[in-house]
């Protein structure tokens, strides 16, 4: 998959859909393309969150670990973004993300993300808006996975 395809994919992610494609290309370029084997963890619950992941292909399971057992709370597949809370607030990961199939993802590191949006208030706005929309949606739909992150 080429950089341009990644940009196309990013545009389908709600957070980024209204962002200038040129900036998205910069974001994609400065991010790493990473691969995970089935069973490998993208990140673990409680870990220091330093990056968000946009799934390019494959499926990742989202699992929380509470009262001694793992509970699957959702799945993320192509075009979805996970761990994005870290891009806005400094917190630890709320869930564990584990590759169910072979997963290819774009790893957007927190500091590169800040560098990209530093002079693009537009992206900032878009993200805040999408977040707000997500939150509003989640109030009516308690099963939405974004809800778990927001907590």
């Amino acid at each position: 998959m080429l950089l341009n395809d990644e940009v196309q994919l990013l545009r389908k992610v709600p957070y980024f859909c209204r962002v200038d494609p040129c900036k998205l290309k910069l974001l994609a370029f400065t991010s790493d393309r990473v691969c995970y084997e089935p069973g490998q963890e993208l990140f673990a619950q409680g870990e220091n969150a330093d990056a968000a992941y946009v799934i390019l292909s494959g499926i990742a399971e989202l699992i929380t670990h509470s009262s001694g057992e793992d509970v699957k709370v959702g799945e993320a597949s192509c075009n979805s973004i996970i761990g994005e809370m870290c891009l806005i607030s400094s917190c630890s990961q709320a869930v564990t993300a584990r590759a169910k199939t072979e997963v290819e993802a774009l790893r957007i590191a927190k500091d590169t993300f800040f560098k990209v949006i530093a002079d693009n208030p537009r992206i900032n706005m878009e993200i805040s808006r999408t977040l707000a929309e997500n939150l509003r949606g989640s109030r009516f739909d308690g099963a939405d996975r974004v809800n778990h992150h927001a907590r």
Binding site: L2, L3, E6, K25, F29, T30, R33, V34, E37
Partner: protein
């Protein structure tokens, strides 16, 4: 030290001075014989004196001598030689005398040189010896560069003077006296006139020299200050830059140089004035001879022949006299220098040399407590930092000292470490004052470490083991077993009163390491234990992995590293993560490496001040052209340029993201942008060679998984792999020894240890690849017995001047590790880790206490804490407030009873 340099020289070289004077006098015999010989040759065989009749012969080498008192006569009739034979014989004698004179001169000069150098060595050694015995307060006032300029430069002229110190005046004085005597012999009155003039010369000239001496003294001091100032600039260069004071420093230096110039100019003026007066006075005497002598000759009271004889005899007087005066000048010169230097090395108090006697064995363990008795310490201004502090540290105690206000705890720790001396009161080790104990006891029984410990130029290991170098392991002085060269060294050292110990010998006392089981690996275990305790091991390992080793020097190690390389590959395969390293394979393109790296397929040696790109670039382009790759890469470069420009063109030039582009700068982007615009406007434009190369350069640093522009086709990759041989085949000579080809079965000296182990590129697609590999590699390293070799390699890292190649935190850790390696009864740590974060500090304090408690000698630890909450790890806590002890007890009791302590720890 002796006040007078001449006396100093006499005291130390008396025997040799007398000997050389004897030799000089002996050398006079052939010297004067050689004077007389030309006359004999000319008068005799050449002009025919004594050979009036043809066939006449003369005796050669005939002599007769009657020994007085016994009336024995020794005589020799000589050989009868004809005129020609006589000429040859006398010429041969002349040649012989020339050779003998030359040899005498050679020997005398050599001897004088040796004498001078030995004395110089002695003085320098004595100065440094005194420096080592300075008390701490004096030491604080000296400037390092000034001291070194004194020891090195200012004493230098003493060496040259030593050889002439006594020989010259004896000889010249004799010559002058003889000349004067001859004049007096010719005519008493004229002789007395000459003597009077000499007396005036000797009387006036030294008086005029006073000014010269004064100027010389000033010159020496200003030059010394200049050296000190330059030293300060070097040491304070960071501060100078950060505060933009370079021009202030320039002005300061200029002013100093101006002063030196003025003094020197004055010096010249006076020097030549003195010379002028001196010359005048010596020419005045003949004037008097001509005028007064002439007057009397005209009057008829003086014989004309006598006058001529006097004037002739006077010729021999000014020469020696002038040299004698020059000698005196040199003497005064060095005397002034000597006094100036001596003054600096005569502090009011010096340590008794007995305190520093070399002790081969570790002194007996002192179980008695370390105590202060009413100790008062003052700072530089004389204000009291502590007042009447009495403390007792028992064996095996772990004591934390903390300050509420002031720096009393630090001052007491410094007093324990003998870094400062108490102004009143005493620090006692057992029953004896610490300052009266030899350093062999205090310097081994007490280990002191603070954050400003010094590091010497050398490797990490040298510095780490520095605290063990008390005495050579093998007792020296046995000359029988020594090599000739070493025997010579010892002899010479003794002649100059120097230390006879060999610094190259083994000085590391393995019996005084902290881990002391008597086994052979005590030292190694102490090192690893100390490094682990201060958390320096991983950094040392990192240094090792970044280092270059020459496989010729370490054949075994490099062989093992190659084995490790294969083992690592195997283990990664076994763990199912073989894909995280893209191995170098001669027949395949390595996708994780740049195009350039793929073409070179070699490690290239990095040398300082050598631009690899510049040196190899042209050749790379050449190869690309021969392999028909240039055009392909140019096309590829155009696409890359388009993408890069699109992504980065909008960003301001100081945007942090530019740092992500490894080989492309902001200026490059602007250049490519202009180029692309130009191309778009005029499609048929001719592209210059430089522009083409710039575009190809973009392709050269392209990595597909990193950039993901999709421009690297299978075809290009194959062609690059095919061009590898081409690149190597015609490699120019100057690149040949810098470029080393990848070979899976060989160690590459041009690559770092890490690159050699990995032998490939980490994939860009697995973010946790480094951590995974590190884990497996660390296990393999230990399994294959390479761990110690790697640590050793890391320890051979050069720390630079005063350890500046290390970070401050590394320096602090190293200082602590250096202390931990030594076996002592008392460890005094004076805020050794100031720059460290809380958590690391806590861990290190815990590790250190644990490490020391694990040793069998039950040592005491006194730790001045900057982080007061750590005091709970100690048996006993002492709280200082404005220089006095306000609380002393266990953590628990203080926590309950003391308000001050609670506020401090909270």
């Amino acid at each position: 030290m002796e006040k007078n340099l001449l006396r100093y020289i006499w005291n130390h070289t008396r025997r040799h001075q007398i000997f050389i004077l004897g030799i000089v006098l002996l050398s006079m015999v052939p010297y004067f014989m050689a004077f007389d010989l030309p006359k004999q040759i000319i008068n005799g065989p050449i002009q025919g004196g004594g050979f009036e009749s043809p066939g006449a012969t003369k005796a050669f080498l005939d002599f007769s001598y009657q020994i007085p008192f016994v009336d024995w006569e020794i005589s020799f009739g000589g050989f009868d030689l004809s005129r020609l034979e006589m000429l040859l014989a006398l010429s041969a004698v002349f040649l012989l005398l020339v050779i003998i004179n030359g040899l005498f001169k050679f020997y005398i000069n050599n001897f004088k040189g040796k004498l001078g150098e030995r004395l110089l060595r002695r003085i320098r050694y004595e100065l440094v010896d005194r420096l080592l015995r300075f008390p701490p307060t004096t030491m604080r006032q000296v400037r390092a560069a000034e001291i070194s300029s004194m020891v090195k430069d200012e004493v230098e002229p003493f060496g040259g003077f030593t050889g002439d110190a006594f020989v010259q005046p004896a000889l010249l004085g004799g010559q002058a006296a003889a000349a004067l005597f001859f004049i007096i012999l010719q005519n008493l009155w004229l002789g007395l006139i000459a003597a009077l003039m000499v007396a005036i010369q000797i009387g006036i000239i030294p008086k005029m020299r006073r000014r010269l001496i004064d100027l010389g003294r000033q010159r020496q001091i200003t030059a010394r200050h200049l050296a000190g100032k330059v030293g300060e600039i070097v040491e304070g260069i960071d501060t100078i830059h950060t505060y933009d004071t370079t021009n202030y420093e320039r002005a300061d230096i200029s002013h100093r140089l101006g002063q030196i110039y003025r003094i020197r100019y004055d010096l010249y003026y006076w020097k030549f004035l003195v010379k002028f007066v001196n010359n005048f006075l010596s020419q005045l005497t003949p004037f008097l001879f001509y005028s007064i002598g002439g007057y009397f000759a005209l009057r008829g009271t003086l014989d004309v022949g006598q006058l001529v004889a006097v004037i002739n005899a006077y010729k021999d007087l000014p020469g020696p006299l002038k040299e004698l005066i020059d000698w005196d000048q040199a003497r005064q010169d060095v005397q002034v220098k000597y006094e100036q230097v001596r003054e600096q090395f005569e502090p009011s108090q010096l340590l008794d040399p007995g305190l520093q006697t070399l002790a081969y064995t570790m002194p007996d363990h002192v179980p008695s407590p370390l105590a202060t008795l009413a100790v008062t310490v003052s700072d530089g201004s004389g204000a009291h930092v502590t007042e009447n502090v009495s403390l007792k540290i028992e064996a095996g105690e772990a004591v934390a000292m903390i300050d509420n206000a002031g720096t009393g705890a630090e001052a007491i720790a410094e007093a324990f470490g003998r870094v400062v001396w108490p102004t009143s009161g005493r620090v006692m080790l057992g029953e004896v004052d610490l300052l009266e104990l030899p350093e062999a006891v205090t310097g081994r029984q007490i280990t002191y470490a603070s954050s400003d410990s010094y590091f010497f130029h050398g490797t990490l290991k040298d510095n780490l083991l520095y605290g063990l170098k008390h005495a050579p392991v093998v007792v020296e002085g046995d000359r029988a077993g020594a090599t000739t060269a070493r025997r010579w060294e010892i002899d010479e050292a003794e002649q100059a009163g120097n230390s006879i110990h060999n610094p190259e010998a083994d000085w590391i006392d393995v019996r005084s390491t902290s881990v002391s089981t008597g086994g052979p690996d005590d030292l190694a275990r102490s090192i690893t234990g100390a490094l682990d305790a201060v958390q320096l091991t991983s950094e040392v390992m990192e240094l090792a992995l970044h280092s270059f080793i020459d496989p010729k020097e370490h054949p075994v190690l490099s062989e093992k590293v190659v084995q490790l390389r294969f083992a690592l590959r195997e283990e990664l395969e076994k763990a199912g993560i073989g894909g995280i390293v893209a191995q170098f394979d001669f027949s395949a393109y390595n996708k994780e490496a740049t195009v350039r790296e793929n073409l070179l397929f070699a490690a290239s040696r990095q040398t300082n001040g050598f631009d690899a790109e510049l040196a190899e670039g042209e050749y790379v382009f050449e190869v690309l052209k021969t392999a028909n790759l240039f055009e392909l890469l140019y096309g590829m470069g155009l696409t890359i340029a388009e993408n890069v420009v699109e992504i980065f063109a909008g960003l301001p030039p100081d945007h942090p993201l530019f740092q992500q582009l490894e080989h492309i700068t902001v200026e490059d982007i602007a250049y490519y942008q202009q180029f692309m615009q130009k191309r778009r406007r005029k499609p048929g434009l001719i592209v210059s060679e430089t522009e083409r190369k710039a575009i190809v350069k973009l392709s050269l640093y392209y990595i597909e998984p990193r950039y993901r522009f999709g421009v690297l086709s299978r075809e290009i990759m194959d062609q690059i792999v095919a061009a590898r041989d081409l690149f190597y085949a015609n490699l120019p000579m100057k690149l040949r020894d810098r470029i080393e080809r990848y070979d899976p079965h060989r160690y590459m000296g041009a690559a770092t240890l890490r690159e050699n182990i990995l032998f490939g590129k980490l994939t860009h697609r697995s973010p946790d690849a480094p951590a995974k590999i590190r884990k497996i590699a660390a296990r393999l390293t230990r399994e294959m017995g390479l761990y110690d070799s790697f640590i050793d390699l890391g320890l051979s890292y050069d720390v630079g001047a005063s350890g500046r190649r290390l970070t401050p935190v590394q320096r602090h850790k190293l200082s602590l590790a250096r202390a931990l390696i030594r076996r002592s009864s008392y460890y005094i740590f004076n805020k050794p880790l100031p720059g460290l974060d809380r958590r690391a500090q806590e861990e290190i304090v815990k590790n250190v206490l644990q490490f020391l408690q694990d040793q069998d000698n039950n040592p005491s630890v006194v730790w001045v804490l900057s982080n007061t909450s750590l005091s709970r790890m100690f048996h006993r806590v002492i709280v200082f407030d404005r220089g006095s002890v306000v609380e002393d007890g266990s953590y628990e009791t203080l926590d309950v009873n003391s308000d001050i302590f609670r506020t401090l720890v909270a």
